[in-house]
Symmetry: C2
Subunit: 223 residues, 2 copies
């Protein structure tokens, strides 16, 4: 039987995250850790993002799932480079999984790596992957109470993408309450309102990604 | 620093679950462990259930959340007895948390206890709470691919409640594909199609709960 001490796990993750961050820095890569509940629409947002930024930003996607390669297949057909990690039961990605996956991507040809974490609003928050931004996707059909119920993750977010706004009129989602809760929890978080289905708001989100890529390119060139 | 061995955690959970099951059996209580992604509508289903079964089935609800008492307040106002567990970071409920919470409920007056687990399709699957049925709530807005992506949890389900069917026409949810995937993964699982908002299908779900309560009452009387 394999026994792993929790404190050791987090410590060794921290070391792997530092190594990832160095590697990404060396390649001038912007790296996003994308987290959400299952079914919030991360993959559909990424498909739209890859199509919108085609020819401008070269994207690699690391797909984290407990099982199946459904998401990586979808991403690959949208034109981005895709690698699938199957966690075989684990409820989150860790930095060493990302370190292994990234070897399968042509890093020197890429501008941006998006890591699509396992669908889970709790456990991934504890594991630094070496990313430079954390993005949470929340769909309006999940309700506006999620930041108060999962504050650890929402407090860490660099950006929050509220998806499925095309469905908002069919739900009880309170947009003003969500904005107030984010303001209280994490006022610096960038907030985007999008519909990956209709394309609404995807342009603004892609502009933000382009700015992050430009900053990273600049700092890599400056070294 | 507190270090907990994973194997010990699961072993001690197993012991606590056995004790819970004995206690519930002694009181002739049906106990449901309800699991889902965040925002699938578990609490709204429970509010509707409590209203529908008022006067027929006495329900106690144990609300599991990382933080906040939002859900317990909602349940209490629908007429059921409610206790809130705050897991303070933990991504699932365990049997000892349920053992503590259940002491706050008037067990001898109840017929049914519903444990609303932390919103998470991964980690709660590993922790037996002493329940006699596991129910998964999946909302159509999450997409029909969830059983293939989270097979451990779906394989264990006694029943699967597909919620938000009032929104199905606004989504790409493939009802036939979901039914086929459930048939392949877990053919004995009972499947309900409901809308907690409109009340559609709630009657059938409540009938199923009533049958479970009747069976439990019968077996407690037979002892």
């Amino acid at each position: 039987m394999r026994v792993v001490l929790r404190s050791k796990v987090l410590q060794s993750n921290e070391q792997a995250a530092v190594a990832n961050r160095e590697l990404f820095g060396k390649h001038g890569l912007a790296v996003i850790n994308m987290m959400s509940s299952p079914g919030s629409g991360k993959t559909t947002i990424l498909e739209q993002t890859a199509r919108t930024l085609q020819g401008e930003v070269k994207i690699g996607v690391i797909e984290g799932d407990i099982q199946s390669t459904l998401d990586a297949e979808r991403i690959a057909s949208s034109g981005a480079e895709a690698v699938q990690i199957n966690t075989e039961g684990a409820c989150h990605l860790d930095a060493s999984m990302v370190a292994a996956a990234v070897q399968e991507l042509p890093m020197s040809e890429l501008d941006l790596i998006v890591v699509e974490n396992v669908g889970n609003l709790v456990c991934p928050a504890e594991f630094d992957l070496g990313e430079d931004a954390r993005v949470i996707v929340l769909s309006v059909t999940e309700g506006n109470d999620k930041p108060l119920k999962y504050p650890v993750m929402f407090r860490q977010a660099t950006a929050i993408v509220v998806n499925k706004v095309d469905l908002i009129e069919h739900t009880d989602f309170d947009r003003a309450a969500l904005e107030q809760d984010i303001k209280d929890l994490n006022p610096r978080a960038q907030l985007f309102w999008v519909s990956a289905r209709t394309g609404e708001g995807i342009g603004e989100w892609c502009e933000w990604l382009k700015r992050r890529v430009a900053i990273r390119r600049g700092s890599a060139a400056g070294v």
